[in-house]
């Protein structure tokens, strides 16, 4: 996962070299397909194929319209407490062609059995190897928390929080420590259809938060569901629309996730 660079750019774009550097960095950035809220729950012995996608919408000359990003990953849980995924990330920046941007190894550690404590805690660590020579590698890590709670209308609710820090590594690295916050709340109406709301925030550098208007903040509705095809596995999906609520973000973005889980 790479952090958004649009907010950082406003501070640094004071000279031509800085602008060029920013353009290069923005070209490699943000996997909008990272619009996903990760669960801390690990299903031992399960294989999963996952695809995430996102497309942004804004005014045609804003430079934020039609930014497409897609990820494809293969995951496995070799232990009850650890799931590992290998992911390929691609992106087509506005007006550009689709390019391979990163190879990422994701790890989710389930820190306690589901339901044992008041919250279900997990810890996420990923390492992204840049697919473009001018881009830095990156490590991202942080807690993942989930809580099932009573809802209304006879349905429960599921709330998930991701709080991830990121650091760039390698020769093209910056010194910032990025922070991304993702929150999703769902109404467990029916396994096939669970409507909810989600919120994403990106801070380029926690050492210099800057104005909220220059940070990336997005909120919007989503729904998710799953079809159990036992004994042939489970298909899960998520679909959401995010409204950009600060000047640093695009007007909107549609994002989706499709996942196939199977034991062998």
């Amino acid at each position: 996962m790479t952090r958004r660079l649009d907010t950082a750019g406003m501070r640094h774009a004071r000279s031509l070299p800085a602008i060029l550097a920013l353009a290069l960095a923005a070209y490699a950035a943000p996997a909008h397909a990272d619009f996903q809220v990760r669960s801390p729950i690990v299903e031992y012995g399960e294989w999963e194929l996952e695809h995430n996608g996102a497309i942004t919408f804004d005014k045609s000359k804003s430079g934020r319209n039609n930014d497409q990003s897609y990820t494809f990953s293969l995951g496995y849980a070799p232990f009850e407490w650890w799931r590992i995924e290998l992911e390929g990330e691609t992106e087509a920046p506005p007006g550009g062609n689709l390019q391979y941007t990163a190879t990422t190894m994701e790890n989710m550690f389930e820190l306690a059995p589901q339901g044992k404590y008041w919250l279900d805690p997990g810890f996420f660590v990923e390492y992204s190897l840049a697919g473009q020579h001018h881009s830095p590698n990156e490590i991202t890590f942080g807690p993942v928390l989930q809580k099932e709670a009573p809802g209304f209308g006879g349905a429960g609710t599921l709330h998930t929080l991701n709080l991830f820090f990121s650091k760039e590594l390698g020769p093209n690295r910056g010194d910032e420590t990025g922070l991304s916050f993702a929150w999703q709340s769902r109404l467990l109406l029916n396994p096939y259809f669970e409507p909810g709301i989600e919120y994403y925030a990106d801070i380029s550098d926690i050492g210099a938060f800057g104005k909220p208007a220059d940070q990336g903040h997005r909120v919007g509705p989503m729904f998710a569901g799953a079809w159990n095809l036992a004994p042939y596995g489970t298909v899960k999906y998520e679909l959401g629309y995010l409204f950009g609520i600060t000047r640093a973000t695009e007007s909107g973005a549609v994002r989706w996730k499709v996942e196939y889980e199977m034991h062998f």
Partner: protein, 112 residues
């Protein structure tokens, strides 16, 4: 004013600490067994409003996966082994469960 990066990391540590708070209700214990690819008992009665520590045993020679879609729980149980599933607090009702590896193996959890 610049904020120290450690403040954000501290928040993350605090959230993880919060997660380990014990649940308010005391766990009750129950168990069920996969035997000859059937639930034993076929219907497991549990109390409403309680948190349950459910031990799922597998007496068969093949692995099983205990799954209750409505309860959002699934657990792989090795052959001749067992696993723990934490449930609840549960609402009164009937919840269908099955063995995801042998979907014809079905049982119910009845919560009263």
């Amino acid at each position: 004013m610049r904020r120290r990066p450690t403040s954000g990391l501290g928040l993350g540590a605090l959230l993880l600490l919060l997660a380990t708070l014990p649940a308010a209700a005391q766990d009750r214990e129950a168990s069920l067994t996969f035997r000859n690819h059937a639930f034993d008992p076929p219907e497991l009665s549990l109390p409403a409003g309680a948190r349950i520590k459910l031990t799922v045993k597998n007496a068969d020679a093949t692995p099983a996966e205990f799954e209750c879609t409505e309860l959002r729980r699934e657990k792989v149980v090795p052959a001749k082994g067992q696993g723990i599933v934490y449930l609840g607090p549960l609402k009164a009702g009937s919840y269908e469960c099955f063995d995801d590896f042998h979907p014809e193996t079905r049982g119910k959890i009845i919560v009263k």
